[in-house]
Symmetry: C2
Subunit: 327 residues, 2 copies
């Protein structure tokens, strides 16, 4: 297994031109002053389907031959991969089935069905097994959420764009769950030797940091209970892990309260509706887990799909003074 | 009183270059499909100080001579004008005093003080009187929130930018409270004969619509109780009214529930943290109060300063399905 390289990210970028949005950048003077750094956020929450996941999903479907497209695909995800794949399936006329846990938020399920995909319910821990069994029985192509060459290459196009949009980045940060976005970003950044790539994950879901330390994929006992619902994965993908090791990517962890503080900063100061997972890299900057003084930092805001009835009460509970305007 | 013309907006735009942000534009495919129109939003919620108000405030201060700047200025506002003026004062080293009502939200007051301005408390209805009396006694220059030539010219620069950024607009919408943004926008658009300018206000604060119908400034009995807290003015400014009449500007009204629906659309579908006042023009589109099929429409998102403890519970109460992602 050699896995995808940076030329695969370049190919994916060409394929996605005119399909995925070239998402805009956001800055905050106040943040830059506070951190004595230049931080540029790439707004993938404004991507189609509300998250970077559309990139990999569409690219993976676009690479299937006519026969496989006609038969259809199957995946498992309760979040943005499900939505991105369902949207990509609609655009490319590929039938999509997604295995979701019984207790997936109604809003996520409704979104997937709204794009015309079929939802199959299963227990959360058996999702992949159920999906692979459906693939075998029905002749559907499995499109896993992150452990897949085309998915990794597609996700890398967000970082590739950011690196084109901003000169002289020193550091590139993304959240890490299964490692699709982080591995793809590392491939994209490997064309820029001076750019360091760092993944950030919740401390309660620190399998990626431990995996890289121990040199083997660490599997969490249970689905981690983090507010960053996009990062509730128990282990890195094998392809993703291999890329992260090969390219020397570092992963740091942040506490739940730091994620909430970063989320409030992005909402109230920067006026961006992003999901908690997207706030995880900023949490590393605000908490000091990563020192960035004097550096130019790129951050991928991974998505903006929130479930207001779940999230708003937590935002209110944690209310700080970040809603005050600033210069 | 001849009042400002479109050349004053042009002068203000030159003065504000490099000072005010050239704010970005936002689109929604789903909205365009729904309305069968092209709607472009100008993100003044990302303006310095979190609202378009900074433009007029800074421009008005920049026009004072050295003597007047050294003596200082006074105004009255419980909202974005206070914040914009305080920030402009800090940048131009002009002492700023703002008369605010006793019951102004703590967050608004803290913002004004955070910029280094002085807050004087008064009863809400006596604010202007108290401010003018302070101006007389202390030698401070009064900078009213909207009934002022330079303020109107400065606010018009947001529309001037939008008209430069988007070719072929048919219609330009802004919220209307005291009429600073609407009158300034009408002046800016008077350079483009094919652009119609329409103001939108809450039905419970319909003084602007009635004033234009009756040909005289209608004064509301009391401060209107609308969720759009930036539009709780009781009457149009005289200069503003004269400009709106002269340029044939129309004003339409929207219900509170339509404002909330538009607000949810902007937050959950477009991922933009805007304040309720900024959602008022979109409310006119979603409710059908303004038919725009086949037209290219520009909307100024006036600001993004919200008080989360007040607003989030109302957003939750009114929860619809706008948080579902879309294509």
């Amino acid at each position: 297994m050699s896995g995808p390289g940076r030329e695969d990210v370049e190919r994916a970028a060409v394929a996605l031109e005119g399909v995925a949005h070239r998402t805009p950048l956001f800055r905050s003077r106040t943040l830059d002053r506070l951190l004595r750094a230049e931080v540029v956020f790439k707004g993938e929450h404004l991507q189609r389907g509300g998250a970077f996941k559309f990139r990999g999903a569409w690219y993976a479907l676009s690479r299937l031959d006519a026969d496989a497209r006609a038969r259809g695909v199957v995946s498992w995800s309760s979040g943005n991969h499900a939505g991105g794949l369902a949207l990509a399936g609609r655009l490319l006329s590929v039938p999509v089935t997604v295995v979701m846990p019984h207790d997936a938020p109604t809003s996520k399920r409704a979104a997937v069905e709204g794009y015309g995909a079929t939802v199959v319910e299963s227990e959360a821990v058996r999702r992949e097994e159920v999906g692979m069994e459906l693939a075998r029985r029905k002749g559907w192509t499995p499109i896993p959420p992150y452990d897949h060459d085309d998915i990794i290459a597609g996700q890398g196009t967000a970082a590739a764009e950011l690196l084109e949009q901003v000169d002289g980045l020193d550091l590139l940060l993304t959240p890490v769950g299964g490692g699709g976005l982080l591995a793809g970003s590392a491939l994209a950044a490997s064309a820029y030797p001076s750019v360091e790539v760092v993944g950030v994950e919740p401390a309660v879901a620190d399998d990626a940091a431990r995996s890289l330390q121990q040199g083997r994929i660490v599997v969490l006992d249970r689905v981690p209970d983090t507010i960053a619902d996009g990062l509730r994965t128990r282990f890195l993908g094998q392809r993703n892990f291999a890329i992260l090791r090969r390219l020397g990517v570092r992963v740091v962890t942040v506490r739940e309260e730091d994620i909430l503080r970063a989320l409030r900063w992005l909402w109230w100061r920067m006026k961006l509706v992003v999901e908690p997972s997207a706030a995880v890299p900023l949490a590393a900057l605000l908490s000091g887990a990563l020192a960035v003084e004097g550096r130019r930092v790129g951050v991928i805001l991974s998505g903006g799909n929130v479930d207001p009835p779940t999230l708003l009460p937590r935002l209110l509970q944690a209310e700080g003074d970040e809603h005050l305007p600033s210069g």
